[in-house]
Amino acid sequence: MTVPVASPGRPVPPAPDGRGPSGPRWDAAPGVIRPRHDTEGMVRWGTRLAALLPGAALVGLAVALLIEALPAIRGNGFGFFTRTTWDPGNFYNPPVVVNGVARPDGASYGAFPLIVGTLASSTIAMVIAVPVAFGTAMIVVHKLPRRLSNTVGMLLEMLAGIPSVVFGLWAALTLGPFLAHHVSPFISRTMPDVPVLRFFKGPVGSGEGLLTSGLVLAVMVVPIIASTTRDLLRQVPRGTQEGAVALGMTDLEVVRSVSIPWVRTGVIGACVLGLGRALGETMAVAMASGTVLGTVPRNVYSTFGSMAGVIVSQLDSALTDATGFAVETLAYLGLVLLAMSLLANIGARLLVRRASTTALPVGRGI
C-alpha cells in the first residue's frame, strides 16, 4: 500500500483554477498531516488482517500438523485408535515398509490407552471442578463482603496463573503420596462393588495415577470456571433477583429460577474452556500420571499416560528414529488431541445454542 505522505519539500499543488496556492490546504501541509482517507484505509486493512489472524493460525496449525502426521495416518491406519501397544521397534534392524511407509522393525503404535487416560482424567477433573467452581463463584458474589470477595477473586486469578510444572511437582511429591497413604486405601475399602463405583476399588498404588491427576487438573480448572462464573453472576440484574425474593422464594429458589438460567450459557462456555485446559494440560499430568505406555487404566488409582503427556515425554526418543515414523506418530497423536478439543468446543456451542432458547437481553456469555 502506498501512502502519499506530504513531505517537507513537496511543492504545494496549484488550486484547480490555476491561480496558484490559495491559503493552507490539509493535503499540502508540509509533513504534518496525513490524508484522512489514507489512515482510514490502514485501519480498515489492519483490522481485517487482525480479524483473520486467529482463523489463519488455527487452519495453519491444523494443516501443518496434518502434513507431518500424514505418513503416520497411512502407516498406523485406524487400528491406531484400538491398539493398546506402544512399541517404537528395533532401531538397529533394517527398517520395514508397511502400507508404503517406512518404520523400524517391529514398531507398533496404538493410542487407545492414551485416549482413555486423557478422557478419564479430564472427566474426574470436571466432575470435581464444576460444582466447586460454581459454589465458589456463588459465595464470592452473594455471601462475602465486598472487600473479602475481591481478595478471593484475586487469589483465584493468581491460582490460574501458577505454572503447571509447579502443580505437577506438588501433585507428584505431596498430593499423590498423601492420597496413596491416607485417602485412597479408605475409599478403596469402603466403595461398594457395583458398576461405576467399582473403578474406585483395587490396589491404590503409590500416588501417581488418575485420581491424583484428576484432582490436580481440577485445581487448575476451578479458577477458569469460577472467575468467569463470578463475572456472569455479577451481571444478573438486582431487580430480577428482587422480583423472585418478593414472590416469596428462598435463596436457593432465587438461584435456581433467576441466577442459573441467566448465567447458564456463559458457564457452559467457561466449562468448555476448562475442559480444553484439562484435555490439553501436559506438564502436570505428565508428572502426576506415571506416564505409562500401552496399558489401559483399570481403576482410578492406576498409572496411565495422557496424549499430551506422552507427546512431551516421548519426543526425545522419537527423534532418534531414523525413519521418522515415531515423530510422525506423535504428530498424529497431536492431531487427534486437537480434533478432540475442537469437538468439545463445537459440542459445547451446540449445547449453548439449545440451552439459550430463552434469549436474554444481555449477557449471552461466551
Partner: protein
C-alpha cells in the same frame, strides 16, 4: 375474573368482619380489620433514618396511593410492608405493622409466607430468564400451591386476568424478553397474581411504560379491587387521582397527611401537601 380474585382469604375475612362489625358500636373506621395497620413505624438503614412515626391504616379492597417527592421514604415504606427490606444490610425498624391483624414482624411470621400474601410489582419489568409459562407459575411452584397437572390452567387463567393470553398463547414456551415493555410488566403482574396474594404493592409500576400500556395497566388495577388491596407508590399525581381511593402524602421521612384522594387534592389540610399537589415543589 373478580370472583376468582375474591377468594383471597385475608380480604374475605376482613370483609366478613366488616359485615358483622357495626353492631359492636365502634366508629366505622375500625369496623373491619385493616389490611395493614401501622403504628409509629420508623425505618432506618445503619445510622441513617429514612422514616419516622408513620401511623396509617389501609382498608382492605381499596387502592391507596403513596405520593411525595423523591427521597421522601415512600418506596422504603412500601418495601417494609412485604419485608423486602429485611435483606438490606443495616435495616432497622420500630413501631408495629400488622397484616390483617397479625404482627407482620412477629418471630413466628415467615417472611416467605408474608411475601406470598403481599405481592409486589416493580418499577421496571423484571421477568425471570425462563419461558413465559414458567414465569407465570414460578411463585406457584415455589410455594407448592398447585399440583403439576394444574399449572397449565393456572398460566392461562393468570394471563387472561391481565389480558395477555391472546398475545402470548402461541408462544408460552419462548422468552419473555421478546415481549414489549408493557407486555413484560403485565406478565410480571400475572406472575404476582398467580399466587393469589391478599395485597399487591406497586412501586411506580408504569414509570417505564408508554401511555397506552400505562392505561392498560391502570384499567387492570381498577378491576382487581375490591378483591385485592392495592398500595401504589407513584410520582404521577394524575395517576394517583385516577386510581386511588385514598392518598397518603410523604415528605422528608414523615407521613404528612392522608385522606380521601379527592379531598386530599382539593382541600389539603397541611401547607406542605398544598404546595406539593399544586405543583409548587416535588
Amino acid at each position: 375474573m373478580t370472583d376468582a380474585v375474591g377468594t383471597h382469604t385475608g380480604t374475605e375475612t376482613a370483609l366478613r368482619q366488616a359485615e358483622a362489625g357495626p353492631a359492636a358500636g365502634p366508629p366505622r373506621e375500625v369496623a373491619f380489620t385493616p389490611a395493614f395497620s401501622c403504628r409509629g413505624v420508623g425505618v432506618g438503614f445503619g445510622a441513617k433514618t429514612v422514616l419516622e412515626g408513620v401511623d396509617l391504616d389501609i382498608a382492605p379492597g381499596t387502592v391507596t396511593a403513596l405520593v411525595g417527592p423523591t427521597g421522601c421514604g415512600k418506596t422504603t415504606f412500601l418495601r417494609t410492608l412485604n419485608r423486602l427490606n429485611d435483606r438490606v444490610p443495616g435495616f432497622r425498624r420500630s413501631g408495629t405493622i400488622s397484616l390483617v391483624g397479625e404482627d407482620l414482624y412477629d418471630r413466628h411470621m415467615d417472611p416467605l409466607v408474608v411475601r406470598r400474601r403481599v405481592g409486589m410489582l416493580f418499577q421496571r419489568p423484571n421477568p425471570f430468564p425462563l419461558s413465559i409459562h414458567e414465569n407465570v407459575i414460578a411463585g406457584v411452584k415455589a410455594h407448592r400451591l398447585a399440583p403439576r397437572s394444574e399449572l397449565r390452567s393456572i398460566t392461562e387463567r393468570s394471563l387472561r386476568e391481565v389480558g395477555l393470553w391472546e398475545a402470548v398463547a402461541d408462544r408460552l414456551g419462548s422468552s419473555p424478553f421478546r415481549l414489549s415493555g408493557g407486555q413484560q410488566q403485565l406478565l410480571c403482574l400475572a406472575r404476582a397474581l398467580a399466587v393469589r396474594p391478599d395485597v399487591l404493592l406497586l412501586d411506580e409500576p408504569t414509570s417505564s411504560l408508554d401511555p397506552v400500556s400505562t392505561e392498560a395497566v391502570e384499567d387492570l388495577l381498577r378491576s382487581l379491587v375490591p378483591g385485592l388491596t392495592i398500595v401504589i407508590v407513584t410520582h404521577n399525581l394524575a395517576q394517583a387521582r385516577r386510581l386511588a381511593d385514598r392518598t397518603v402524602f410523604f415528605h422528608g421521612g414523615r407521613m404528612v397527611e392522608t385522606g380521601e384522594t379527592a379531598e386530599l387534592f382539593e382541600n389539603p389540610q397541611q401547607e406542605e401537601t398544598r404546595n406539593y399537589v399544586s405543583g409548587r415543589f416535588g
